[in-house]
């Protein structure tokens, strides 16, 4: 692998990301999948870095799941997007940052569609006015939340309490980065680093001391695929894609996987349990799985936030081996205590996959 070759390609895919004043839209599913991530995105950006990130309780789904499941037509999806733009305009913001990769893809696709077909924008404006009596300005910049953390990676590194280094050996941790499909595969120039070698996550991991693993199936989808997962009979296809990725990354012995999509960390994490039950195989060391983190969780760990405050106990794959490598102290007794020490109950243990 020739690192300079990748840098040459990265230089073609630089994306302008304003450093402040963003209107934030959340994901439909991340708050139940990885409940600490969005909270700590705001915590890190607002409280630690002093940025102005605005959100409103009036925003809805972007319609992405329904759109990608063929439940609603594109015109409907675009009108939902237009309503979010209207909320942004009403709040006085020009930059839109999305928590979800599919939302980011949906906003980008909508704007690109309007650029190519202005008559569709006119129809959507009319539909939004008729249905909601709202008007909007198009955002000047659309970013995914991982773009912002990428942008702030240097500031985070300066404040870091921990580096992505095995504190016992001094070796950089081996990090697999997995990019959500809708981040840049549709519009490579809208993602940091393009679609073939995106550097939005690898840039973070490298800035914080880790070493990126480039394995053969790095481009492969996690397998979620909306319809593949949502219809139970098709879930084998979803899991087979995840399985393919794990088989491909296995020889590199990754210490962790970081992701920037709502679905990917969920499936890369949970399928490790199902694969272990069905095939008897686990991919981490000593019978554990490979911990899968969101980029906010990773940033949070680097900044010294308590793992249980980040919500890492909600993961299927135990994160304790990773915390031990990083030298992060944690209290096992508090793992399943929620807000105000409320008992959130200990889950049952899998038969094969080792958990703490």
């Amino acid at each position: 692998m020739i690192y300079q070759g990748k840098q040459k390609i990265w230089s073609d895919y630089q994306k302008e990301i304003p450093s402040d004043h963003w209107f934030y839209v959340r994901s439909c599913i991340r708050q139940s999948f990885f409940p600490g991530s969005e909270k700590w995105f705001l915590g890190i950006c607002r409280d630690m870095l002093g940025k102005d990130i605005h959100e409103t309780e009036h925003h809805t789904t972007c319609g992405g799941i329904a759109y990608h499941c063929d439940v609603i037509p594109q015109l409907t999806a675009m009108t939902i997007v237009a309503r979010q733009f209207a909320l942004m305009t009403e709040a006085g913001y020009k930059n839109l940052v999305a928590s979800c990769i599919t939302s980011f893809g949906n906003y980008t696709e909508t704007l690109e569609t309007w650029r190519e077909f202005p008559e569709l924008e006119a129809r959507v404006r009319e539909a939004l006015w008729k249905s909601c009596r709202r008007e909007f300005e198009k955002p000047e910049y659309v970013a995914h939340a991982s773009d912002l953390i990428y942008k702030f990676r240097g500031e985070i590194a300066e404040k870091a309490k921990f580096r992505l280094v095995d504190h016992r050996t001094g070796e950089p941790l081996r990090v697999v980065e997995h990019i959500g499909c809708h981040y840049s595969k549709m519009f490579p120039h809208k993602g940091v680093g393009g679609a073939e070698y995106p550097c939005v996550l690898s840039g973070m991991a490298e800035s914080w001391g880790g070493r990126i693993i480039d394995y053969p199936e790095r481009r492969h989808c996690c397998g979620f695929g909306f319809r593949q997962y949502l219809v139970k009979a098709n879930r084998g296809y979803s899991m087979s894609n995840t399985h393919k990725k794990f088989e491909s990354m296995e020889p590199y012995h990754p210490d962790m996987i970081i992701t920037n999509c709502p679905g990917c960390p969920y499936f890369l994490d949970r399928w490790q349990y199902v694969i272990s039950e069905q095939t008897g195989k686990t991919y981490g060391q000593n019978g554990y799985g490979i911990p899968v983190l969101t980029y906010e969780e990773l940033a949070g760990l680097v900044l010294g936030i308590d793992p249980w405050d980040l919500g890492l106990q909600i993961h299927q794959v135990a994160v304790e081996p990773l915390l031990d490598k990083l030298g992060i102290a944690y209290d096992p007794a508090k793992k399943y205590l929620g807000l105000n020490e409320k008992d959130i109950m200990k889950p049952g243990l899998p038969t094969v996959l080792r958990c703490c």
Binding site: M1, I2, G5, K8, I9, A195, Y197, Y215, P216, R218
Partner: protein, 342 residues
């Protein structure tokens, strides 16, 4: 210019094989050709090649013969054209070395560019350790020097149509010579690595020229080269630094995957964009494929739509060497007829 007082000068832009052959013919017709070449050597792409299809004839003697035949012509290397434009009934060309030419005829023998293979990001050229281009392989044949070819190769792949017939790469045209070049190079690799399995991934095999089909049958029968009909969709690198190629075997209707010790990308001929400012200065038309536009594509391929400006070789589109040489001769005759008052 060095004392050729009685002979009329003709400007030839480009000293590849088209320019050299045209210069050779113009010398014989009694003119004083001036070859203007931006590179530091004459012979163009052919001078960098090792052997030529379909006979595997070495490239060097062809170039040497052309240089020998054009010794009487003026050859200006590392030339940069500062300006070119109409002056009286001819053209004035000023070069950065101070040379100023006044000619009645210009031959555009400006050739092609090789597609920059890194632009097909999914093939990993410049990123993976064992991915090289057809031109790199010829360089290796010539010099034996290329770190991407490591040890005794057991499995080798060739990808046809890299940057050709590819709307997204900006080149819809067939580059014409890559199918036969891939077959030639596959055979040469099999001769060097007799134990190797070699796969050619193609979309269509376009083997139109004299002896090409025989060369193809020979590659199959005598060398056991495998041909898979399907465009390579993605390339990756495994933990040993080997190359994993994915394609669909469209004749079988199934995806295929293979791990290789080396992958050769058949980078296609694309238009030479460096000459577009000069073309603009001379009011030459550019075709929609980016190549210079002939007056027509049947009877007047070597004539431009501007009086006194002629075209030869790959300046107007992908060409084989015999086609290029024939066009150069044809253009020389056209220029002679023009200058002698046809």
């Amino acid at each position: 210019m060095e004392g050729k007082p009685n002979k009329e000068q003709v400007a030839i832009i480009g000293a590849g094989i088209a320019g050299l052959e045209a210069a050779h013919q113009l010398l014989r017709l009694g003119y004083a050709p001036v070859l203007i070449e931006q590179a530091d050597h004459a012979g163009g792409h052919v001078a960098e090649w090792n052997r030529l299809f379909p006979d595997k004839a070495p490239a060097a003697p062809l170039v040497e013969e052309l240089l020998e035949q054009t010794r009487e012509a003026t050859l200006i290397l590392r030339a940069k054209i500062l300006s070119a434009g109409r002056l009286g009934d001819g053209f004035n060309i000023r070069l950065s070395d101070g040379t100023s030419l006044h000619v009645r005829a210009i031959l555009m023998a400006t050739g092609f560019s090789l597609f920059e293979a890194w632009k097909k990001e999914e093939y990993g050229y410049g990123v993976y350790d064992r991915v090289l281009t057809n031109a790199d392989l010829e360089h290796w044949f010539n010099t034996g020097d290329d770190t991407r070819i490591k040890g005794d190769l057991k499995r080798i792949g060739f990808v046809h149509c890299v940057g050709s017939r590819d709307v997204k790469a900006g080149n819809t045209q067939c580059s014409k010579v890559c199918c036969i070049t891939a077959i030639k190079q596959a055979i040469e690799m099999k001769e060097r690595f007799p134990e190797a399995e070699i796969w050619c991934f193609y979309m269509d095999l376009r083997l139109f020229g004299k002896k090409y089909e025989d060369f193809y049958i020979g590659a199959q029968r005598d060398y056991g080269i495998h041909f898979i009909r399907g465009r390579v969709s993605e390339v990756s690198e495994n933990i040993d630094g080997k190359v994993i190629v994915k394609a669909e075997d469209t004749l079988n209707g199934k995806p295929v995957k293979v791990t290789l010790d080396a992958l050769v990308l058949m980078a296609g001929m694309v238009c030479n964009r460096d000459i577009q400012p000069l073309a603009k200065e001379l009011s030459l038309s550019i075709d929609d494929d980016g190549y210079l536009k002939s007056r027509d594509n049947i009877g007047s391929v070597t004539r431009s739509d501007r009086k006194g400006i002629f075209l030869a070789g790959a300046a107007t589109g992908p060409k084989t060497i015999p086609e290029t040489l024939a066009e150069a001769r044809s253009a020389a005759l056209d220029i002679h007829n023009f200058l002698s008052g046809e």
